[in-house]
Symmetry: C2
Subunit: 122 residues, 2 copies
């Protein structure tokens, strides 16, 4: 669970929790105007929109809280459903850290740093 100013939320399907997200500042202090988040979806409930619902919620939350941008630090590149979801919400891949994740089936795969600006610089 995130402490304020962060937040943890869940998605339900017929009273069952099927996904969760936690969100808050990506860095303390002088980096706290950039938000980050992490997401978990029940493997049995993937493809039903829970991740998208939480992702859309998180982007709106970050806008409402006045964050300048959102940075995801570690999107597993082989998780194409997640990568495409974030791209559909406007995120770009800033970089891919090579072989930074030891996937249980695929071995070493890259981690994307993904980024969504929320407002123009002043």
């Amino acid at each position: 669970m995130e402490s304020p100013p962060g937040l943890t939320v869940v998605a339900e399907n017929e009273d069952r929790i099927v996904a969760s997200a936690k969100m808050g500042p990506n860095r303390p202090g002088r980096g706290a105007h950039v938000a980050t988040a992490s997401f978990m979806v029940d493997p049995d409930q993937q493809g039903l929109g829970a991740g998208r619902a939480l992702g859309e919620y998180m982007v709106q939350w970050a806008r409402d809280e006045g964050y300048h941008a959102i940075q995801f630090n570690a999107v597993v590149e082989s998780n194409t459903a997640a990568v495409h979801l974030w791209q559909s919400l406007g995120f770009a891949i800033l970089a891919t850290v090579p072989e930074a994740f030891d996937h249980s089936a695929l071995g070493l795969v890259g981690l994307h740093v993904m980024y969504l600006p929320l407002r123009q610089s002043e």
Copy 2:
């Protein structure tokens, strides 16, 4: 202070601590084969080599511990001394997150993600 397997070290100049570094895995679990570190140098002692000494120590430590690579997540782009130091040790800038650091004098500046591979992929 870092907990094992991480480590915190200091640099001394005539019995005075002039810089410190902490190092360890960048991520838990399946990302723990990539190391990270952060460094602080006494502003009165900059330019005397303490940062370089700790940086070189850290790279050797990561090699000795068997890490595959080192990732620095947030190198302030306006800190050209640090950027050049890491480049001189072989680090590359993978990406720059725009306006991610609120510099006390310069306002919003970017944060570099910097990366040094330590061994060939298998």
